[in-house]
């Protein structure tokens, strides 16, 4: 009897946890990887909305941190893929109550927006991100570039972190977008 109820409990817990992890509301469009002469440039658009709970928190002055993550893998048939490079970029979204402006900032740079939609559109737009210096790529070889955007719950205030552990409203992330590509021949070969 006891054993059966324990089993049931475990099962329920698994279902709940996995259901939470599934939540993905960020859609990625137009992700592209361009290899210019000496750099690898990533571009992409992430379109999403905030859940009511997140929006409420934002409008009450809680800053939200988003992370754009990039990984470059070299597939290996005999072993796990080799991670050639990984880059992250952190974006901060905050609301200024006095001026009713949304501010997206990256490092010291910032931009103000009167509406959340505009702020989110700017936040989700990745343009000309130089992720890897060109000479780190071997010429004529297959790579997979992976890109995603997610809400960094670890930078939330701690009580929200606890909520984020159990509630899907606090989880916001896109799937990894995989872009396989072939590196160009070495730069010297280009006239």
């Amino acid at each position: 009897m006891l054993r059966r109820s324990l089993l049931l409990l475990t099962f329920v817990a698994i279902v709940v946890i996995s259901g939470d992890l599934i939540a993905t509301v960020i859609k990625a469009n137009n992700v592209s990887v361009e290899q210019s002469e000496n750099a690898l440039v990533v571009e992409g658009d992430f379109r999403f909305e905030l859940s009511p709970r997140l929006e409420e928190a934002l409008n009450h002055g809680v800053p939200l941190y988003f992370t754009v993550e990039f990984e470059l893998l070299r597939p290996r048939w005999y072993w796990f893929d080799e991670k050639v490079a990984s880059e992250t970029r952190t974006l901060r979204l905050a609301y200024h109550t006095l001026s009713r402006q949304y501010r997206v900032s990256r490092g010291a740079l910032y931009q103000n927006f009167p509406t959340l939609e505009e702020a989110l559109r700017t936040l989700g737009t990745v343009r000309g991100w130089i992720v890897v210096e060109g000479d780190r790529l071997s010429p004529e070889e297959g790579y997979v570039a992976m890109l995603r955007l997610r809400l960094d719950t670890a930078q939330l205030p701690k009580p929200f972190q606890v909520s984020a552990l159990t509630s899907s409203e606090w989880v916001l992330a896109s799937d990894w977008v995989r872009v396989p590509f072939r590196s160009k021949a070495s730069g010297s070969a280009i006239p």
């Binding site: 009450h60 809680v62 006095l98 001026s99 009580p159």
Partner: protein
């Protein structure tokens, strides 16, 4: 088990401390908070698993009815209650208190005040903004007529009049026509964003409060400057003014407090969850540790009982060697010690009983041995007169296999009917004392003595019997010798006077008588004398039989003795065949008496051979190996008339004879002599073959 428990509890304690530290705002653990939570939960689960495992083990023991498991279970339940009840109480109160106290932090009035503060700030900014809009409108009106190179001058003047920081005149496309600034250093004023221009063109007005960097705010207003002529395009006027630093700082600080308060207010659920989670984990860790510990303690308490139970079971199996180990000095230890001493006493008692039993067995064996070697027969009956016990001699005497009669009553016996009848008769009399009966079984006489066993030993009867045939024969022989002695004496006394008187008559009257008288006298006296002599001989014989002296035993060779006697019987018409085994050992015997034995036997044979054609006598000796060094056997057989069947059983008794003359004492004397030599004599008729009959006498004499 103990180590698992201690490790888990210690680990749980450390993790709890870390968790509590992380719940407070320590940055070191902040980022590992979920990991800490998970670890704590894992430890709790491990402890729960331990408790469940212990419970399962206990349940299995209960089902297997292991001694002490019920006590363990009860103690466990009691310990668990002691641990759970206060824990649950403290937990409930804490959770209630926590919820209440966290809720009490948030107050509608504070909320309103902060909100009001923020609104106040915003209203001030709005007021400044609308003031700016008014100034912009009047400036736009003033500027509407101004064109070309006068613009810059007019703009500078108007800016000065309005008292704003910066003024900028733009084309609809956003190109700067002219600008004026309060501080000459900032030659390039803040450019409006494209959206603002678009909005200003479409809605004829754009106003914004723009936060600048970390602190400071900028008020921006864009209005169109209408032209007087239609041909001219509409210009745009932007004026910007920075919010006074003190106002900006104060409203910013109000805003940050408002934000902090709102954040707290929003996160109060999460906060409460953190504390409740920490509390719950603490409770679970403490509870499971306590229960697991309770399990160990109750196990330890009930352990001595299990040891005792094991000892008890061993004793029940009859194993007294087991000693329960005394582990504690409390009452249980005392109990264990008492149990041990009890076991010891039991062991001693049992060994004593065993010794007694063994002695009884020995006594019984001795008794049985005695019974078996008793020459008399013994029959034991129980109170229902069923035969229970016999001895070996009983079967020998009755010449029957009595084993088959064990467990039966005499009434149902199919054989030994005389014995059975006697026993039934005696049993039916219910005599308490001793009875004695004499019965004849064929030629044997048996005397039965019975006595009832005392009722205290279960009742029943014991019957002892013996074959007294030999005894009676001996008694008869003794009686005969006594009779013979007296008779001989009484008869012989008058014979001499009779003879003397007859001779005197002869002597006195012979001369006086003549003729026939003298002859008659002579004949009569002769007859008297002859008969008296005959009677004297007879009496002598008789006395001889009665007074045969004890033999003077000496070693002698039987062959030599036979040779001497046989020499006297060498007659022409009698064939005596002698077959002597050479090298016979000497026997102990009286030479004269043995010679008489042979004489008597040969005489008997001669008498039996009278009138038999081709008479012959066979005399043979031989050595017969036997238990006591063997015997020498002497056999004399003839082909005479043999013994009549009627008297062959009694030929050794005096005066039993088939002959017309003779005293009938010959064989009686032979028998007596042989008996005194401790020998054995048998007489049998030879089997009748071819009309030839005869008798065989066989004498066995023991060696010295």
């Amino acid at each position: 088990m103990t180590y698992v428990l201690i490790t888990s509890a210690a680990l749980g304690g450390i993790l709890l401390f870390l968790l509590a530290a992380a719940s407070a705002n320590t940055p070191l653990f902040a980022e590992h908070y979920p990991l800490l939570l998970a670890l704590n939960a894992a430890i709790s689960t491990a402890l729960l698993a331990l408790v469940v495992y212990q419970l399962v083990v206990l349940a299995r023991q209960r089902r297997a009815k292991v001694f002490g498991s019920l006590l363990t279970f009860r103690l466990l339940v009691m310990f668990a209650i002691i641990a759970v009840l206060p824990g649950a109480l403290v937990y409930t109160v804490s959770v209630q208190f926590l919820a209440k106290s966290i809720e009490s932090w948030f107050d509608v009035r504070v909320d309103k005040a902060l909100e009001g503060g923020v609104s106040l700030g915003r209203a001030a900014l709005e007021a400044m903004l609308s003031d700016l809009v008014r100034k912009a409108d009047s400036m736009a009106l003033d500027l509407s007529g101004v064109k070309g190179p006068q613009q810059t001058k007019a703009l500078g003047r108007l800016r000065e009049q309005a008292g704003v920081d910066d003024a900028l005149l733009l084309t609809p496309g956003g190109s700067v026509l002219s600008s004026a600034s309060r501080e000459a250093a900032t030659l390039v004023p803040s450019m409006p964003p494209a959206k603002a221009l678009r909005q200003a063109r479409s809605t004829r007005s754009y106003t914004a409060i723009e936060p600048q960097g970390d602190h400071g705010m900028l008020l921006r207003v864009i209005v169109p400057v209408d032209s007087l002529s239609l041909s001219e395009e509409t210009r745009l006027l932007q004026i910007t003014n920075s919010v006074p630093q003190s106002l900006a700082d104060q409203s910013e600080s109000v805003q940050s407090v408002y934000h902090a308060y709102k954040e707290l207010s929003l996160s109060r659920h999460g906060l409460r969850n953190i504390y409740i989670l920490t509390l719950t984990l603490t409770l679970l860790l403490a509870l499971f540790s306590a229960i697991a510990l309770a399990f160990l303690l109750s196990r330890k308490l009930s352990q001595p009982l299990a040891v005792l139970a094991e000892g008890t079971q061993a004793v029940a199996r009859g194993d007294f060697s087991r000693r329960a180990k005394v582990t504690s000095r409390d009452e249980l230890g005392v109990l264990t010690q008492s149990f041990n001493s009890m076991t010891e006493q039991l062991d001693e008692a049992r060994s004593t009983a065993e010794a007694n039993h063994r002695q009884l067995e020995i006594a019984k064996g001795y008794l049985e041995n005695l019974l078996a070697n008793l020459s008399a027969g013994v029959l034991v009956f129980d109170s229902a007169h069923v035969l229970r016990m016999i001895n070996h001699a009983a079967g020998n005497i009755l010449q029957e296999n009595l084993e088959m009669l064990l467990g039966t009553r005499p009434g149902s016996w199919t054989k030994l009917s005389e014995v059975a009848e006697t026993l039934c008769e005696q049993f039916s009399k219910q005599l308490a004392g001793v009875w004695q009966r004499q019965i004849e079984l064929g030629d044997r006489v048996i005397v039965l003595r019975g006595s009832a066993l005392p009722a205290t030993t279960g009742g029943g009867d014991v019957v002892v019997f013996d074959d007294i045939t030999q005894l009676i024969a001996a008694q008869r022989a003794t009686a005969w010798s006594e009779v013979a002695r007296r008779l001989a004496h009484e008869i012989k006394n008058p014979l001499t006077p009779i003879q003397l008187s007859a001779e005197r008559l002869q002597a006195k009257l012979a001369s006086r008588l003549t003729g026939e008288d003298a002859l008659a006298l002579h004949r009569s006296t002769q007859t008297i004398v002859a008969q008296v002599n005959a009677m004297k001989n007879m009496v002598d014989d008789f006395r001889e039989y009665a007074r045969t002296p004890s033999p003077a035993l000496e070693p002698l060779n039987i062959n030599d003795l036979l040779g001497e006697v046989l020499a006297l019987y060498e007659q022409s018409d009698l064939v005596v065949r002698a077959q002597f085994e050479t090298g016979l050992p000497a026997v102990l015997g009286d030479r004269n008496q043995l010679r008489q034995v042979v004489h008597n036997l040969l005489q008997n044979s001669l008498d039996a051979l009278a009138g038999i054609p081709a008479p012959h006598i066979e005399v043979s000796t031989s050595f017969v190996a036997g238990p006591a060094g063997g015997q020498v056997r002497l056999m004399i057989s003839d082909n005479g008339t043999g013994f009549p069947e009627a008297i062959i059983q009694r030929v050794f008794e005096p005066y039993v004879t088939t002959k017309n003359k003779g005293t009938g004492l010959g064989l009686a004397i032979v028998k007596k002599i042989v008996d005194e030599h401790h020998g054995n004599i048998t007489i049998a008729n030879r089997p009748d073959h071819g009309g030839e009959r005869g008798a065989t006498v066989s004498i066995s004499l023991p060696l010295p």
